[in-house]
């Protein structure tokens, strides 16, 4: 009998030991491995600040607001700004960029007009260049919709750990994971209440519960929880356990996203990093652990306030804070920010593009769990101006055209032509709505936006800007037997027109004739070299823009024209790093010369003429004369699409207006899209476009009507660029070489 009992005991011990070893392995593997699925974070470009920079105070203010800086009287901690009339003292937070740490700085910025004139650090030394931290514009979430922002224990504000310990587990630093006193007390409470009301869990047990077990309140779970908590305590020290707790704990719900950890909760409730929380805010969050929805400060402010003050009182009673600190914190309001959908919502179209690019290289699972950091080129300031310009202009069009302008849709792409970076993207009129992304997915006939490719192909083949084209009725028999007979917009033919003028005024008949003469293959080849990637159909109607493309594809084509013939793949992402900041992929500045800069220079002339004297001249009624904008209007057949694509020195924008049901518009490219473009550039105040003369180009005065060589002093002359040696030789005569005419001239002047 005794032997039998002994054997049984042995067997039980073995089973228990095996069980413990199994539990131990479980505890350790989860704690040492990747503990949480952390969504990828997507950042906007960081704002660079340097003396001499063109940056208005309003822009800086907007950027700081976007970064949730607090505008205060005295900026004595990170994330705070003192704002004065021509100065700002900014206490930055610092940021660990993939290419180096940007330290937190206390700096003084001085403005003169809309120029940032001086930056000095706290010691008064001049700083040549600093970057603010980049704005977080979104995340890529796992299916569980768990979101968190990991923090380290040493980053936690003072009192956070104390407050947690005070309210949740007073003996945390003494027990071994389990508090028998606590359990006894809980049992007493439960017995008195006659039901299960109190858990008596230690922080360690709570962590175990959330981390490893289901949330049912059963006895078996409780029995598993105890040994696991003790095992956890055996392997890890209190600080490690507390840090895990800070990041694991559930603190609220934003739509279908669960807010986990104090890092994210701090952003969610107070819109600031956890390091910047104040005592009263720390107390509120610590108090909420007990019941995040019961004490939700947005839905139940009284309850939350009462809870917060209880936590403060406990801290004071335990001597963690002074009476003065207590009094000060207690009389504060909750200070919770208005609920915004955190991390998302502001830039859905751009984020959509970022995700598509990421998916070319990364698996969905990695994107949503590995805590990757994605640095993009999005410029929130440019995006805001683009959205505002679109809204104002469309309202103007609706006012002007009434019913006929109902149901307008729009999209827009803004890039920096010098770097090829996409700065802003609008996918539809509802810019906050994550729906059909027209900038990427709406394929619409591009109308006259195709013409620069036709003319560029011609110029490359040996035509000059001065070549006279025939704008006359014209028809082409198509393979199916039908006739293609392009019409001009004004239903008139204009006879002989110089090539530059034909483009500037967007004549169809002369363009179609030119395109047929140059050859469809050459035009298609040119479009492909400039940046078109989809298959282009070799129909004659391509010459007048029957081909459909997306605004983003057009931006890529015009980008090459703006960059003197160098094609740069449009860049959205600059760099991707892992959670530790180690670089995973970079998208460096790459370019490839596709068209000779000399030839592109000629086209740039004609596109500027479109702005000065052609179909886009209305832009100059608003924009400064020295801007030298270059661009092209486009209207598709039957006026279903209104386009404008154009650039200045440092901004390129493609605008599309139209309707999803493809119905007719009451305006053309210049009546619609150009207005949006102009309004955007007016707000943007970009650099003027400066076309430097390439070595192989000469400027020659030309007589406009005949195309002969002329002189600055002769009437009807215009200065045109030519590839070296292609300018006409023969001259008009306005008496410059003839002394008789010159004497006649003064004679005439005498009589006038």
């Amino acid at each position: 009998m005794l032997r039998w009992l002994f054997k049984l005991g042995l067997v039980l011990t073995v089973i228990l030991a095996v069980g413990l070893i199994y539990l131990d392995a479980q505890v350790r593997s989860k704690f040492e491995g990747k503990r949480w699925a952390v969504p990828a974070k997507v950042y906007a470009r960081p704002l660079e600040l340097y003396p001499g920079q063109n940056l208005s105070r309003d822009e800086l203010r907007q950027e700081l607001k976007g970064l949730n800086y607090r505008f205060v009287r005295s900026a004595d901690q990170p994330g705070a700004v003192e704002w004065a009339s021509s100065r700002a003292r900014i206490h930055t937070r610092g940021f660990n960029f993939p290419d180096g740490e940007e330290p937190a700085r206390n700096m003084l910025l001085t403005f003169s007009g809309s120029t940032l004139s001086d930056i000095r650090d706290a010691e008064g030394r001049r700083l040549p260049l600093v970057r603010l931290e980049p704005m977080l514009i979104g995340g890529i979430y796992p299916k569980s919709n768990e979101d968190r922002d990991l923090i380290k224990l040493e980053e936690a504000p003072p009192h956070l750990a104390q407050a947690l310990v005070a309210v949740e587990d007073r003996r945390f630093y003494e027990h071994w994971g389990v508090s028998f006193k606590g359990i006894a007390r809980a049992m007493w409470v439960n017995m008195r209440a006659g039901r299960f009301v109190q858990g008596g869990s230690t922080l360690t047990q709570q962590l175990i519960k959330n981390f490893y077990l289901t949330s049912d309140r059963t006895l078996s779970r409780k029995l598993l929880e105890l040994p696991m908590a003790m095992l956890l305590e055996l392997h890890y020290d209190k600080d490690e356990i507390l840090e895990a707790y800070l990041n694991e704990v559930y603190l609220g719900q934003s739509g279908n996203r669960a807010i986990h950890g104090f890092g994210l909760a701090s952003q969610y409730y107070f819109a600031r990093p956890v390091q910047e929380l104040e005592l009263d805010q720390v107390a509120l969050l610590a108090g909420m652990v007990k019941g995040p929805s019961w004490y939700d400060p947005r839905r139940h402010p009284e309850r939350a306030l009462e809870r917060r003050n209880l936590v403060l009182k406990m801290l004071r009673d335990q001597g963690q804070i002074s009476q003065a600190e207590y009094d000060d914190a207690r009389q504060r309001t909750l200070g919770v920010v208005k609920q915004r959908s955190l991390h998302k919502g502001a830039f859905p179209a751009y984020l959509d593009l970022v995700k598509r690019k990421l998916r070319e290289e990364y698996r969905d699972e990695d994107l949503s769990t590995e805590g990757l950091r994605v640095f993009t080129a999005l410029d929130p300031l440019v995006q805001t101006r683009a959205e505002a310009a679109l809204e104002t202009s469309i309202q103007g069009l609706e006012k002007r055209y009434g019913q006929k302008a109902q149901g307008l849709e729009a999209s827009m792409v803004v890039t920096d032509p010098q770097t090829g970076e996409v700065l802003a993207l609008i996918g539809g009129r509802e810019t906050r709505y994550q729906g059909f992304n027209r900038a990427l997915d709406a394929l619409r006939p591009i109308g006259s936006l195709v013409k620069p490719a036709v003319y560029l192909a011609a110029l490359e083949k040996g035509y000059t800007l001065n070549t006279l084209l025939e704008d006359e009725p014209f028809s082409v028999k198509l393979p199916d037997g039908s006739l293609w007979q392009p019409q001009n917009f004004d239903h008139r033919s204009h006879g002989l027109v110089p090539l530059h003028r034909s483009l500037a005024l967007s004549y169809n008949q002369s363009t179609a004739r030119l395109g047929m003469e140059v050859g469809l293959e050459r035009v298609i080849d040119m479009l492909e070299r400039l940046g078109a990637e989809r298959e282009l159909k070799a129909y004659p109607s391509l010459l007048l823009g029957a081909q459909s493309l997306s605004p983003l594809e057009l931006a890529s084509i015009y980008q090459t024209i703006a960059a003197n013939g160098f094609r740069m793949p449009l860049r959205v992402i600059r760099r991707v790093t892992d959670a530790e900041g180690e670089e995973l992929s970079r998208y460096p500045f790459t370019l490839k010369q596709q068209v000779k800069p000399e030839v592109v220079h000629l086209l740039q002339y004609a596109l500027q003429e479109a702005g000065r004297e052609g179909t886009a001249r209305s832009a100059y009624s608003v924009l400064p004369q020295n801007l030298n904008l270059a661009g092209k209007t486009g209207t598709s057949n039957d006026q279903r699409d209104s386009w404008f694509a154009g650039f200045t020195g440092d901004r390129l924008a493609v605008v599309w207006l139209g309707r999803d049901d493809n119905s007719q518009l009451p305006f053309t490219g210049s009546g619609g899209a150009l207005r949006v473009w102009t309004e955007f550039m007016r707000r943007e105040e970009p650099e003027p476009f400066i076309a430097t003369r390439p070595a192989g180009v000469e400027y020659v005065w030309i007589d406009e009507t005949t195309g002969l060589r002329s002189d600055e002093r002769c009437e009807g002359s215009r200065l045109l660029p030519f590839l070296m040696g292609t300018a006409p030789e023969e001259k008009v005569d306005c008496g410059l070489d003839n002394p008789v005419r010159r004497s006649l001239d003064w004679f005439r002047n005498w009589f006038n």
């Binding site: 001499g52 006279l468 370019l591």
Partner: protein, 194 residues
């Protein structure tokens, strides 16, 4: 030689007088229409005679124009900018170029490249940025990109002798290293022209 001038001048005057009215000029047009080429299947066959591009013939009647009045300024679309007045580099760009130089001489080419791309965003018209960026890419063995960046630099530096000379000799070095001796020689020649 003088005789030739005299003859030409005389001829012009004569033809000028022969014209109906020197001040009402109508450009004579040359018909360059041609028969359609044999068409491949699926290509377009124009029904009309192919549209000719009208070219003013060389020679012919002189065209007389009045002189411009003082206040009658010609339109200026794109003034031939001979040389962008190279703006003094901002302290920010100087700092980035300097640290990039240090990075690259201590072998941290990727860091240098990051800094230069930052500089490029701030000063995309500064040839110096392209020179350094191309050189860093050359040292990384990215000859194709290095050459393209340097060529973009050439297009940015139009009219500025010193940067142009340095850019072309850098292009020569890049081509040399990439095994393109002929291209290198051509680039060297261009460098020598500045």
């Amino acid at each position: 030689m003088k005789k030739v001038y005299l003859m030409v001048g005389l001829a012009l005057v004569v033809t000028g007088c022969a014209g109906p009215n020197p001040y009402v000029y109508k450009a004579p047009v040359e018909d360059r229409s041609r028969t359609p080429q044999s068409s491949e299947p699926g290509t377009v066959v124009p029904v009309d005679p192919v549209p000719g591009v009208k070219v003013t013939p060389i020679g012919g009647a002189p065209v007389i124009r009045a002189q411009r009045e003082e206040e009658d300024k010609p339109v200026q679309i794109q003034a031939p900018v001979e040389q962008v007045v190279s703006q003094p580099q901002s302290p920010a760009v100087i700092a980035l170029l300097e640290t990039a130089r240090q990075d690259s001489s201590s072998g941290n080419l990727r860091t240098a490249q990051n800094r230069l791309e930052r500089a490029l965003r701030i000063a995309p018209r500064d040839p110096e940025v392209y020179i350094q960026l191309a050189d860093v890419q050359r040292r990384q063995g990215q000859f194709l990109q290095a050459e393209q960046v340097a060529l973009k630099g050439v297009s940015v530096a139009a009219g500025q002798k010193n940067p142009l000379r340095r850019l072309w000799s850098l292009i020569a070095d890049i081509r040399q290293e990439a095994g393109n001796a002929a291209g290198a020689a051509e680039a060297r020649q261009k460098a020598a022209a500045y």
